[in-house]
């Protein structure tokens, strides 16, 4: 009896309940590393175009899109074959992109010609361009899909774009060099990180006004070393994680008080991040230490680092259980 129970327990323990797959773009080595979140190892390194940065799974989990800026295109990686199978027509030097909730439309920020390209993902065809501020950078879309946010590095603004008319409807001034924008899941707030300003501005999306700011202070570290970039928000919107670049830390922020509750030392020049779908883990890319840190979200502790390619930049995790792994 006892034996049978432990056998069952063993069998359960041996079955990886949550094997997900993460794709990491390595800006300098022109590759994408594939990480298995069960063994926490790199299972494959895929050769892609030049200077891969923005990277995201399609909503159906079948493809990974990666912006290869120096090749002026977005490549599509087949998640089953783990090779590049097609390209999408972006403008020059695409850096970051976002897709609507249905996964039908893709919006790409082209750093070099001050436009956002709109792409039909099913037809893989370009639908048009939207003129935005100088050096468009951060991109996100409101949960209802009606508003596209684009941040401009040079004008220090977050542009609110109506996705139906493709017109800018509002501009909100934030701190210097806005890099990334993230909505709360309930759409009540938009968080915008400013790399040089060293802050995160909290914007009321209805009023188009800054209603609060998150600031960071790490004893012994010069202010210039604190450069907020990537933002991750838990599904309950209670906790935000902010990557602080060369401060080598992730700040854990209580969204109610807008104060940092903890700093986690991860890797060098921490840039972007992604949650596993079960939200147990948060993975961050660390550009200088060339690795990915794994944070246990509940414990708020760094549990592992995984070496990837050179200058890891972006990261995306498959929306469901990985194809081919532990079904």
């Amino acid at each position: 009896m006892f034996g049978a129970a432990s056998l069952v327990a063993l069998a359960l323990a041996a079955t990886p309940a949550h094997a997900f797959v993460a794709y990491v773009s390595n800006e300098k080595s022109n590759t994408v590393s594939v990480i298995d979140t069960d063994s926490w190892t790199v299972t494959k390194t895929i050769k892609v175009g030049q200077r891969p940065r923005g990277i995201e799974f399609t909503r159906d989990g079948k493809f990974v899109m990666v912006a290869v800026g120096d090749d002026d295109t977005i490549q599509l990686i087949d998640a089953n074959k783990q090779t590049v199978v097609d390209t999408l027509p972006s403008g020059p030097d695409p850096e970051l992109f976002t897709q609507d909730a249905a996964g039908k439309t893709l919006y790409v920020a082209n750093e070099n010609d001050n436009t956002v390209t709109v792409i039909d993902l099913e037809k893989r065809a370009r639908l048009g361009d939207i003129q935005v501020g100088v050096e468009p950078e951060g991109m996100t879309i409101s949960p209802d899909g009606k508003t596209l946010i684009n941040t401009s590095e040079t004008t220090n603004m977050a542009h609110f774009i109506d996705t139906a008319s493709r017109q800018i409807v509002a501009n909100v001034l934030v701190d210097a060099r806005p890099r990334f924008a993230e909505y709360k899941h309930d759409a009540s707030e938009l968080w915008v990180s400013s790399e040089i300003g060293g802050s995160v501005s909290i914007v009321d999306p209805g009023k188009h006004a800054v209603i609060g700011k998150v600031t960071f202070e790490i004893p012994g570290l010069r202010k210039e070393a604190i450069q907020p970039v990537g933002i991750g928000m838990t599904k309950d919107d209670k906790t935000a994680f902010v990557a602080l670049g060369p401060a080598n830390r992730i700040a854990v922020v209580d969204t109610a008080t807008r104060k940092v509750t903890k700093y986690l030392l991860v890797g060098q020049r921490v840039w972007h991040m992604a949650f596993t779908p079960d939200e147990k883990y948060l993975l961050t890319t660390n550009g200088v230490s060339n690795d990915v840190s794994v944070i246990d979200v509940a414990a708020q502790k760094v549990i592992k680092s995984i070496q990837v390619g050179e200058l890891p930049w972006g990261i995306t995790i498959a929306p469901g259980i990985a194809p081919g792994i532990a079904r």
Binding site: G220, L221, N248, L265, V288, N290
Partner: protein, 204 residues
Amino acid sequence: MMVRTVALVALAFAVSATAARAADSRHPDWPCAQAKVPEISLAAVWAGPELGDAENKWKDDGRISALVSKLAARKTPLDEAEKAVKEFLASSSADKTANAKLLFAGLFDTLNAQRSQVMSGLERVSRKQREAADKIREETIQLQALQDAKPRDDAKVDAMSNQLIWETRIFEDRRKVVRFVCEVPTTIDQRLFALGRVIQQEME
């Protein structure tokens, strides 16, 4: 023909040397594309307990200072160094925290010093290169004058163009070395961070 080629090459150099200069006005002699970060701050690599007197005491401990020199040496592969840290801390049960602090303090001092040395070396070479570029530029003008002189002294033209070939070659070689050495400060940063991370993990 030969002479003209040399002169053109030399000129191209002088120009590119000028263009490469002073990407960051605060550090005019810094020759690298990588931004110059004069020193690694402790907080950027350490989130563990305060180091306190470990910052001075690590040198007094023979075992620690020997291990520090081994771990700080670039010829020791990083994964081997990480293993050595784990073994050392695993074997020092009671004084684990104290030893960890001493070891990190030693690595921080040593690697920061190593890094400063590499960086000042780079700046020294950069100044020399600037002088060499100026010299090549001047000699190119002299060579042109010699070529245009009537009557023309072929022996002098040859001697001068040979000299220019050599100087240009040395300049080019040094430039390649500089580009390679520019990666070293980052390599040192990476080593310090990686070893610091292992030490902190072992302390938990």
